[in-house]
Every structure is written in C-alpha cells, then in structure tokens.
C-alpha cells in the first residue's frame, strides 16, 4: 500500500461501516430475542391469574414491549367483558 492509498482507504473505511451496521442489528436482535423468550409464558400465567376473578378469552389480553431510549415499557392491555363491567 502506498502513501496515498493509506489516506484514500481511511476515507472509505468499510470496516467502520460494517461495525456500525452490526452494532445496530445486534442490539436490535438481542432485545427482541430476550422478550420472545419469556413473553408467551408471562402472558399465559397472567391469563391464569386474571381468570381467577374474571372470565376472559385468550385474545382479551395483549402484551407488548416497547424500547424507549435506555428503558423499556411493558404494555399490558386487558379487555374486560361487557357483562363483568356492568356488574
């Protein structure tokens, strides 16, 4: 590599691009991976607890995780049946 190549290649540093892309995708996939692992179980167990008090269907509980900067928000949405609310 010659004197001039040395500066040219540092201008188009593809390794730096690769590193940046990998850091983004790896952070994304790590986050998702961990949640995929316990969310279904959490949802099932929550359903069991709620059913001790209210009769709800599987679809009446929605669970979601949102990443917001440094922290994550666990969003839990339970739709109660009409009759139960009226009582």
């Amino acid at each position: 590599m010659s004197f001039f190549d040395y500066f040219r290649s540092s201008q188009q540093n593809t390794a730096a691009i690769a590193k940046e892309r990998l850091q983004i995708i790896v952070a994304h996939e790590r986050g998702r991976e961990a949640h995929l692992d316990y969310l279904p179980v959490l949802q099932r167990e929550l359903l069991e607890v709620i059913r001790k008090y209210v009769a709800i269907d599987d679809e009446q509980i929605k669970i979601n995780v949102d990443k917001d900067g440094d922290y994550e928000v666990l969003e839990l949405n339970i739709t109660l049946p009409e009759a139960e609310k009226a009582r």
């Binding site: 590599m1 010659s2 004197f3 190549d5 040395y6 290649s9 540092s10 188009q12 540093n13 593809t14 390794a15 730096a16 690769a18 590193k19 892309r21 990998l22 850091q23 995708i25 790896v26 996939e29 790590r30 991976e33 961990a34 692992d37």
Partner: protein, 268 residues
C-alpha cells in the same frame, strides 16, 4: 473434573472443524485426556481433518443406538498420546442424535476424559443445539465479516437460553471468542473488521486470533491437525489459544501487520 467444550458459530465454513481438531490436539499435547466428537451427522468431516477417516468402524449414532459400544467407536490418535476421536455418522438422519442418547454418551465420556470437545454443525437446528446443550464452556468461532459476526451473536443468545445450564438455572456456559481467517493487512487498510471491533460487538472475552494461513489447507490435505504444525503461524496461534485456555499468560500474536508503519506508508 472433566469439561465439555462446544465449538460453535452458527455460520458454516468459518473454521469450527479446523479449530476443534487443533484445539483438541493442543490439549492432548499438554497431557490431558481429550476426546473430540463430530456432531455433524450426515456431513462427517472431522475424521478427514484428523486423518483417521479409514479407521472409522462404529460412530456416535451407533453408540447411541447400542449397535456398538464406546470402546469400539473411539479412535485413538496415532500421533498424540491421550487423544481420541468420536466420528459422526455419515448416513443417518440428523434426528438420530437424541437428547437422552447424547447425554448418556457424554456422561460416559466424562468418566474417562479431562476434556470433551464438541465440533458443532452449522446452523441453529437440532444438531447444533445438541452440540452445545451439555457444554460447560463454548468457543465461538467467528470470521471478521458481517454475516459471521451476526450469526455468532445468535449463537451466544442460544447458549444462554437453550442449553442445560440455562434451562436448569446453573452457572452460565463460559464463553470464549475465537476470531479466525484474520488478515491484519486488510484490517490496517480499513476493509476488514478488527479483532477489537468484533469483540466490541459480541462482548465476550477474546481467547485468540488465528491468521488466514495457507497452512490450514495444506494440513487439511494431509489430515494433520494445524496445531501439530508447530512452526507455522496458524499452528502457533492455535497453541497460544490452548495456553490461554489453560490460564497461562500468553500475549496476543498475529493481530498486527508484521510490517512497520514506515513500510506501510511507502508502498509494499
């Protein structure tokens, strides 16, 4: 205490089998009773790399199925004392490696060996999971290249969720990063991820770096594990890795371009 070490990567063709053979041979050279197992059912290759392909009679699946016992299936290396190979089956389907079968064979090997090296198949399917399932430690083999690094990250996720240690809530598998097919010159030119970059992304301890080397092809041609070529770059790099694994202080080599800054600035 015997240790089970999985050699894994996700991506194929990155150097798992080369590493399994060289690492197992290196441990045996240090006097440890070592066995290296080929988990790549249907695509057996470790026997070729170890140079014992003509001595295979019974294999891993035969032992699991009770068609032969371990003593019949284990091949004793002719060069290094206390080194054994357990070949994969070439014909059976991948599901032949039942979890109970693998557990039983590994338990038997634990009684007889100090180190049990599991050469994983590519992918994240059954065979790869079986190779890592009972591991105490894992060597994650990675090339300094985007798809290999991403796949390694997937595998690191599996090690901490789909293995016996993870499921039973025991101490996690000890992970070691091994970067291979490394070209310091291209790293210096800025068109290959550096060892530090890869370690930054994967965030597990670096065990060592193996340079891209013509020796690897030559030794595979001859059926000689690279670590027996002790006066070559790749051979020494693998022996260094064994030293570091055994807790010895051994500075990193083969990471930097041999040429000094001056020769880099003023042409080849």
């Amino acid at each position: 205490m015997s240790k089970i070490i999985a050699v894994t990567s996700g991506k194929g063709g990155v150097g798992k089998t080369t590493t399994s053979a060289a690492f197992a041979t290196g441990l045996a050279l240090r006097g440890y009773k070592t066995v290296v197992i080929d988990f790549d059912v249907g695509l057996r290759n470790l026997d070729l790399i170890m140079g014992c392909e003509r001595r295979v009679v019974y294999d891993f699946v035969n032992v699991i199925n009770g068609e032969g016992n371990l003593n019949q299936a284990l091949i004793k290396d002719k060069r290094v004392e206390s080194l054994y190979i357990l070949p994969a089956s070439q014909t059976r389907d991948k599901d032949a490696l039942s979890q109970e079968g693998v557990e039983q064979v590994l338990a038997e090997l634990r009684d007889r060996f100090d180190y049990i090296i599991c050469d994983s198949p590519a992918g994240i399917e059954h065979g790869a999971i079986m190779a890592m399932y009972y591991a105490d430690e894992a060597i994650i083999v990675t090339n300094p290249e985007v798809s290999s690094v991403r796949d390694s990250d997937r595998v690191i996720g599996l090690l901490s969720s789909k293995t016996a240690r993870a499921i039973e809530g025991k101490a996690p598998i000890k992970e070691h990063l091994l970067i291979t097919r490394y070209l310091p010159k291209r790293v210096n030119q800025g068109d290959m991820l550096s060892a530090a970059d890869v370690q930054d992304i994967l965030a597990i301890p670096l065990l060592g770096v193996i340079p891209e080397s013509s020796v690897v092809l030559q030794s595979s041609n001859a059926g000689t594990p690279v670590s027996l070529e002790s006066n070559t770059d790749a051979g020494q790099a693998y022996l260094d890795i064994v030293s570091r694994f055994l807790g010895e202080d051994c500075p990193m080599r083969f990471v930097n371009d041999k040429k000094g800054l001056l020769s880099r600035l003023f042409g080849n």
